[in-house]
């Protein structure tokens, strides 16, 4: 498996007369972790949602520009959003298990996309739960409702659920922000081991986390892409004074 590159060009997003994202152009490399950082309300989550078109759910939204994933414009005509979202998985800020068993949560995606054979599903469930280190914890109670798991386990379940349809890109929206430190550490470890197989874009407002995980960093400020580059450069030699100010904690 290999991740796919994402190229965003001249992306503008407006809701009503509010400009959420202003003329964003950036190339996100495959098989790397790219962090989107910036103060609250700068458009981080919106940018993420543009990459699997979950942004479509927002009513009265106006999107201009292109997003190419693996060379295909996902805003082009004839795009099957269902297939796009199979290729581009997303993990939400708060764990959102579906109202069904642990097993069915993982099998949900594969079933939607036509996988029906029980033996195949068994194999997928075990593999994905193993990848996120949850298998040994839940293998005895796969039929229990997913809501019975602890919050940290639920988030790992959501990660496993996203992996079950073999995506090429993983979008993570502040995925550790509702977790305890130990569970957060778990997720971080799993994300950094997953980058060999996936392109990972994650949004965070925790700078230390971005420093720990990211290979590349995008700094957004008030809907504008201020700076983009390898993590070391952005963190240690920021070119823009606004980036420097943010990293030094002047505004947050």
């Amino acid at each position: 498996m290999a991740g796919k590159p994402i190229t965003i060009s001249h992306l503008n997003v407006r809701i009503g007369d509010r400009n959420i994202l202003k003329d964003i152009s950036v190339s996100i490399p495959p098989n790397k972790i790219t962090a989107i950082i910036g103060p609250s309300g700068c458009g981080k989550s919106t940018m993420l949602k543009c990459m699997n078109r979950m942004i479509d759910l927002v009513e009265e939204i106006d999107i201009e520009g292109d997003v190419h994933i693996d060379g295909e414009n996902i805003y082009g005509s004839g795009i099957d959003v269902s297939l796009l979202r199979k290729k581009v998985g997303m993990i939400a800020q708060t764990p959102n298990p579906l109202p069904m068993s642990i097993y069915d949560n993982i099998a949900y995606g594969p079933r939607i996309h036509g996988q029906r054979k029980r033996t195949d599903l068994d194999e997928i469930v075990e593999r994905c739960l193993n990848t996120v280190g949850l298998w040994s914890e839940v293998k005895e109670r796969l039929e229990d409702p997913a809501a019975k798991l602890s919050i940290g386990q639920q988030q790992r379940l959501c990660l496993a659920r996203a992996l079950a349809v073999q995506p090429e890109v993983l979008l993570c929206d502040e995925v550790t922000s509702s977790l305890d430190p130990v569970s957060a550490k778990h997720i971080e470890t799993e994300l950094s081991s997953l980058k060999n197989d996936y392109t990972i874009v994650f949004v965070t407002h925790i700078l230390r986390q971005a420093k720990r995980l990211a290979d590349y960093v995008i700094f957004l400020y008030l809907g504008e892409l201020v700076e983009y580059g390898p993590a070391n450069e952005v963190f240690f030699h920021p070119k823009d004074p606004r980036t420097a100010a943010y990293i030094e904690g002047v505004f947050g």
Binding site: M54, M90, A92, N96, P99, M100, I112, P145
Partner: protein, 295 residues
């Protein structure tokens, strides 16, 4: 100190109406039991329930025609209204644009609150001729229009807004997170409704349907006006029927000179009460089971 005393007084005072409300059900059941004792002593329960001979003058009170009438009309109403209500609730909660929702939803809520006599008049003016002149001829059947189908239609029209309105609330209450989880996995909206939203909302949907049923089952005025009121077991949708509530409403106070009639009507009322209570208990058991399964 004073605040604590007030708190304690409020605790005691609010207990009274809460307790009184639940006591009322027991009192009502008790009164109906006592008042229907006379007929129960006179005729056996199976005769009352399963005999179709209704000759009050001769002292024969067979309730089967009325039970059958109630069952027919309620069944037609539920068969029509459950799918219609659930589909409109799904549309409004999952598919409709914000503006459509804002227009349609208050109208449906309004419809749910219209007095039943208005629906009855509407039934007489529109539905009776519709059934008589259009629907029945299509099946080569002649009918007065005052029949099971018309009663069921009127009831369905009354029940649809009620079920739709509650089902809409229930579906909307499903956490947005869950819908997002499903959509982000590549499921489309229908798959999301089918596998996630409906599953999560199922207990509430059951509650909505039970409320609709209770309303249809006990509705008196609107049905009475269009259903024909003939004490015979209906054998088709185009036959007249005589549901229990209509029987009570038409005759209570009028036929009291006939011995046992009063007690017979009390028994009919008790029957309605018992069925609605049993139905609610069953629904509650279902709800508890379902909730245990998905929470």
């Amino acid at each position: 100190m004073k605040r604590q005393i007030i708190d304690r007084i409020v605790g005691r005072l609010t207990f009274i109406p809460a307790f009184a409300a639940s006591l009322l059900l027991i009192v009502m059941t008790g009164v109906l039991c006592i008042r229907s004792q006379e007929i129960l002593l006179n005729q056996s329960l199976p005769t009352l329930l399963f005999s179709s001979v209704w000759q009050p003058m001769a002292g024969k009170f067979g309730f089967l025609p009325f039970i059958a009438g109630t069952v027919w009309v309620t069944f037609v109403a539920m068969a029509l209204s459950i799918p219609i209500s659930l589909f409109s609730a799904i549309y409004l909660s999952q598919y409709a644009h914000r503006r459509i929702k804002a227009t349609v939803q208050p109208l449906i809520d309004l419809l749910a609150g219209i007095p039943s006599i208005v629906f009855g008049l509407f039934g007489v003016l529109l539905l009776v001729p519709l059934v008589k002149d259009l629907i029945a001829p299509a099946f080569h059947i002649s009918t007065s229009g005052y029949c099971v189908l018309t009663g069921g239609l009127v009831l369905a029209i009354m029940v649809v807004p009620l079920i739709t309105s509650i089902a809409f609330e229930v579906l909307t209450a499903v956490p947005e997170d869950m819908r997002i989880a499903s959509l982000a996995m590549g499921a489309n909206r229908w798959e999301t409704v089918k596998y996630v939203v409906f599953r999560k909302a199922f207990p509430g949907i059951v509650a909505a349907v039970v409320l609709g049923f209770s309303r249809a089952f006990g509705e008196t005025m609107a049905v009475l006006m269009v259903v024909g009121n003939v004490a015979k077991i209906p054998s088709s949708l185009f036959d007249p029927a005589y549901p229990i509530p209509a029987l009570i409403a038409n005759n209570y106070g009028e036929m009291m000179s006939i011995p046992l009639y009063d007690s017979a009507l009390m028994f009919a009322a008790l029957l309605l009460l018992v069925v609605v209570v049993i139905f609610n208990i069953i629904a509650n058991i279902v709800l508890i089971r379902v909730k245990r399964g998905i929470s």
